[in-house]
Amino acid sequence: MFLKLITQSFRMFRRSELYGRSMFVIILLGFFAFFILGQLSLAGRILPALLQEHFPQHQPAEWVYGFLLPILLTDIWLRLFIQSTAASQVRPYVHLPVSRSVLSAYWILRSWLHPINLYLLVFFHSFIRMTINPESGSHALGLVAIALLVAFSQGLLMWIKSMQNKINGFVAIGITTLVFTWIYTYHMESVIALSVKWFVQFTQGHTPTILVWAALPAAIHLVVFLKGKQGFYHIFDEGSRERTVSGSNRIERIIASVPGFGPYWLLEWQLASRSRRSKWNFYLMIPYAIAFILFFLLTGNVRPGTFVILFFLIAGSYGGFHLQHAFSWESHFFDFLATRNISLYHFIRAKFWFFLTYAVIQMMVILPILAWIDPEVILFYVAIFLYACGFGFFFYLWTGVGNSARLNANGSASFNMEGVTGIKFIQVMVLFLSIVPLFLIGRLLPIPNGHYLLPGIIGLAFILTHQWWIRSIVRKFEKKKYIKLNLYRQK
């Protein structure tokens, strides 16, 4: 039976809608996977030299092997937020005559197949080779030690996520983190020495160390296995747990009262803020705005290359991540929109003004910070703002008419390629790269700061003429209406 379940799992993987979508997505995913793994491996190789250069008070190996506990805690926190256990994979079999032991073992094995289990192994595979002398310790045993840490982290996550009240698990990890932070703060040298000593002993095949090290993940997995054997009630409890929403809050009441656009803005806000994936896309503005400021601080001056990256950060934070799937977010209720007395022009115009306002609010927060860092950057920032909101919004809404992939706004937030097609990817690339020729042409203009003024003026022109091009989008939309409705409905 266990093998049968594994076969089903493989079949599910092979037949995944994600892979079946297009060859482009498969290649893109494969490329990203190899790219990320390659970067991790590279980080493991170059980190010793960087540590040696910047923190010479300890050996590079000591900095890492001495901090294995904080690394483990960070890994656990990361997992708590982004890793789901394979409960949904077990769900279809719970009501069938399959023994609980088999289901429990299957649950553990499936959870292990999460890609997050790879990153520490890939990083340490390189790092161990760079830092452990084969004469004093085994590389393979070093990797086994890391694998056991990963196993412990994985087991702990499964234990916490299968709790009736997960908050208790979060609190326990929080307290543990605080305790170790305190220990590291006041006894750093001795803890580093102890941690390094244990790791080195492991790589040297010191049996008691290996046994103790291995006992922890084995114990937690045994606990998890026994918990699974008791039943998978937590899977079903999760779905039926009473959750209540608070209803209209102050922000929603303010948005709803905006003259002219109120109900449409409210719908846009509710769509963006109440569903997992749309929320993820919408709130990306915060890290992107921070990344923008940091990037500017680190790079100092603006060159064509950095110009594109800065534009990418700003345009993304102004709603680019959300708007690139314009009209697909509404795919699940497009029939409703199509049968109600809603003017498409008014609907799109409300959308444009909603994101423009969203961008202006961000600008009002970021601008004083930039002015404080370097007043000269304000012109650049305003120019990019105008281009991202003028031409950028036009581009998203114009190309959005061609979006026909049905998006589940409440679907899985991370690594969700739903709605991503080859054309969409190229369209976004075109938008980001469109700033480069403007930058170069602007530099040739016989006016100071021409490279900022040109994209700024173009952006402003698109903002000022938005009523005209929105009408044009509406006409384009009307022509494709039935095709879009059908595609949104069929899938």
């Binding site: 409703f336 007395n341 409705l485």
Partner: protein, 236 residues
């Protein structure tokens, strides 16, 4: 509201799924559409609502082609399937937004909702749940109420009795009949439940493989026997 259908055809990949030469639905009629799976009931409703493009012919509501005008939308309430629901809204918010599109204020929506208290059975509003979290039956209720709330001169419902508990089926059946009598509005109800349709409809249209097989006046279950006979013969 009057619906005029003329030479209406819908085909997919050359396969004709609906072919109605002439059909007129008169103001105040409560028309039931029955037929086995694949008969074209939902396709017909979607064509009337201009949700799919005709392959030929036209649909007119009050002598205006639905493809060329949107004025009919203000006069039409409809609920066909979950595509009419907005999952991330609570039922109250959904009904309020829906009411807004018909020019109803939130207060009017709340006031009109009192008519549906027994239909909602205390399960729909005030629960603090998004529509996507509701049971299928309660989603169905939200959609039906949204369609009926503005007392539209034209009402189109697809399988309104599906997923509803027996009490709710009876309540909504009676509401449809009463509204039709009070407001003299036009209603098109598609359903597999011939008992309910025979109970309330003034006219029943039987569709089979995209064509109208029977179009018969009905009063007080007068056509139930004929319908039962027809479907029984198809089951052999």
């Amino acid at each position: 509201m009057q619906i005029n259908i003329s030479q209406l055809q819908k085909s997919y990949s050359g396969n004709l799924v609906l072919d109605i030469s002439e059909l007129q639905i008169n103001p105040g009629e409560l028309v039931g559409i029955v037929g086995n799976n694949g008969a074209g009931k939902t396709t017909l409703l979607r064509l009337i609502l201009d949700l799919i493009k005709t392959s030929g012919g036209s649909v007119e509501i009050n002598h205006e082609n639905v493809q060329h005008s949107t004025a009919w939308k203000k006069q039409t309430g409809s609920f066909l399937d979950e595509g009419f629901l907005i999952g991330f809204l609570t039922p109250e918010e959904y009904l309020e937004f829906n009411g807004y599109t018909y020019g109803l204020s939130p207060e009017e929506v709340t006031s009109r909702l009192s008519e549906y208290t027994s239909f909602m059975n205390g399960e729909l509003t005030g629960k603090g749940k998004y529509i996507r979290e509701l049971s299928t039956g309660n989603k169905q209720k939200a959609g039906i109420i949204a369609a009926m709330l503005c007392d539209p001169p034209l009402l189109l419902l697809d399988e309104p009795f599906n997923f509803l508990d027996p009490s709710s089926q009876i309540i909504i059946k009676n509401m449809l009949r009463d509204k039709n009598r009070q407001l003299n509005n036009t209603m098109l109800i598609s359903s597999h439940n011939i008992n309910h349709l025979a109970d309330i409809c003034t006219r029943i249209i039987l569709l089979e493989k995209g064509q109208i097989i029977k179009d018969i006046p009905n009063s007080n279950k007068s056509q139930l026997e004929e319908l039962e006979h027809y479907f029984s013969s198809r089951a052999v």
